[in-house]
Subunit: 412 residues, 2 copies
Amino acid sequence: MRISILGIGNEVIKGKTVNTNASFISKELNKLGFDIKSHLVVKDYASEIKSALTYLYSHSDLVITTGGLGPTVDDLTRESIAEFFNEALVVNEEIVNQIESYFKQSGREMPKTNIKQARYPKLAEVIINKNGTAPGMYFEKNNQTIIMLPGPPRELNPMFLDYVIPKLRMSHEPSTVSKLYRTMGIGESHAEEMLEPLYKKFLNVEIAPYASVGSIDFILTVDKSVVGYENELNKASQEFENIMTDFIIGDQSKFINEHVVDLLKNKGLTLGIAESCTGGLLSSMIVDVPGSSSALLESCITYSNEAKVLRLSVKEETLNVYGAVSKETAEEMSKGITQLLNTDVGLSVTGIAGPTGGTKEKPVGLVYMAITIHGNTDVYKYNFKGSRKKIRTQAALTLLHTLYKKLKEIKL
Amino acid sequence: MRISILGIGNEVIKGKTVNTNASFISKELNKLGFDIKSHLVVKDYASEIKSALTYLYSHSDLVITTGGLGPTVDDLTRESIAEFFNEALVVNEEIVNQIESYFKQSGREMPKTNIKQARYPKLAEVIINKNGTAPGMYFEKNNQTIIMLPGPPRELNPMFLDYVIPKLRMSHEPSTVSKLYRTMGIGESHAEEMLEPLYKKFLNVEIAPYASVGSIDFILTVDKSVVGYENELNKASQEFENIMTDFIIGDQSKFINEHVVDLLKNKGLTLGIAESCTGGLLSSMIVDVPGSSSALLESCITYSNEAKVLRLSVKEETLNVYGAVSKETAEEMSKGITQLLNTDVGLSVTGIAGPTGGTKEKPVGLVYMAITIHGNTDVYKYNFKGSRKKIRTQAALTLLHTLYKKLKEIKL
């Protein structure tokens, strides 16, 4: 089953809104092994919608439309789709009642214009919208299927997950099986080199890397037309896990900050953080996780040398002799924060985020970080590349990943 | 001039990457008054790329492609475009040299496969890529123009701004004039109400809001076909500025954190920050600005009550009587950080970011923030809505905006 997604509306075309609906729908369908062919966005004009549908059905069996279902005269999606399928629109009284009761819930009366939103082709299946006034629809004719959904993600997402996914799973078997991995601590080209034997050995397995700053997700996929496809996927996954064992942090359901907070809480460990160049980013990643307050007692962003001395008891001599960005300072910062707060774990990071401030000996991107656990401190040195923002993000994520590996080793 | 944008590659189709290239390009072109017709994304297959081009040129004069320019056999964009235009690809020696020198800069040798990236139609204009190995191109034949750009935003964005925009401005007169404003501290529907008289008075002026978390950009646009269009834009802009005077923070060239750091540095003021629910996010926004170290001396992320007492000298009685999320605690935190660090300015923020921890009296989203300047403290109370992340982001941005307004008032 070949699927395309058609966004309708001016906001995306004008660059006001990013087309997150298309990526949300694609990601969910891709996980289930459906084949996405294209994403298209056009403005809300009848002729453009109709020629878009003609183009999309030239390579798709199902088109999912998003947006253009408002009550105003500008919203022409419903009419254009009906014309494309050569169907009349009929007012569905049940839907009129639903829209009316939606308005009542928020203490308003339904404006007459909203009746428009209850007009559907006679044989269309209506998709209920619990979070707005525009219901969706499922309609099929001449082997061309259309699913029409409203634009706002808070309306679209539950309709897609609660109705569209079960509907598609029931009527259309996905054509592939997949397995998902999230990895950290390895670059894309390095990973490709390590995985090359796997590419050659499992010609029927697609191994697709999805790189973000600091992490790479891998999706291993086998088409169900392959004889013994499940066995093939299991064998490839097993070898993938063996090769990438040092880098896999789980599937794609959790980010590294969630793993770290889980481990701290499960092992009953308290945390203190001393940040310099990351300037609060590392702490903010921890605080992003609900309930992190039971682990993170306090963070000190000691951007200046004075703060490092006063707050973290870094020795002035250390700063004078080795500098603020050094192995020695990182070590004293990490020890200093655990002593100041009396925590089990202390983290520190100090570096040169740029764009200025670099020298030949200490270039932009040089970052030292340290981890103290129950009095023992390890220091790590990195040379990151990229913008100020990217260097800081990489530093924070790398430190979280290193802490994750150390915490996993700790016996309860 | 009708423009469409064609994204090529599996990442977007599979939902791993959001198509920010299309919105970036559209926003920039829209500002200049160009007419965007559609966004399309297809996979990296020759037949799909060619039928996509046929469809797009049915309603566009210019197609801008993004992505698919890598050195591997999978990257077929170059070949498919050449076939579509019925042109041969020729190795451009100058480009080979450029790619070689790009590799040399990072101490590597150019793999043979990268020669592929130097193959162009003979009459194509090459667009230099300073941040990667894949140059772009500009090519025109039979009134069909194509601009080919690489996918990674850090490569695409400067190529687009430095080459494509000037090129289009030179060869194609935009059909509109515009003026840009960035506003903060006002919601979209509230702004719409305030601007309603303007909508009615200036029927020829399009006033388009672009909302992000914490800020709204406005673009005022007049078509050049309107008699006296410049005068019309000036009059509308003047009235827009009068209505929105409390909310405008400038044009779209700077974010609020940059404005705040500029003001602190220009007025020679030092800053200390005490964060609770924002957990480092506020400090990180300040540290995002290069050179912020001369203003921000230190931040304390006092997530626990103990930290608030020990570090910021918040009274235990205050915490017991009013709670950690209260006007009184925010005030003592802000005063405490200025006294601890002896800074001119102190900021504090304490609130309930959720998703749990809210009560009827203190619901999720309740945030108190305080600003101390030279000993005088003001406290602000907000009820933010949305996810944990959104509440924290709104809190940090709102505090920066409030500080911005106060700093502007301070005489040197």
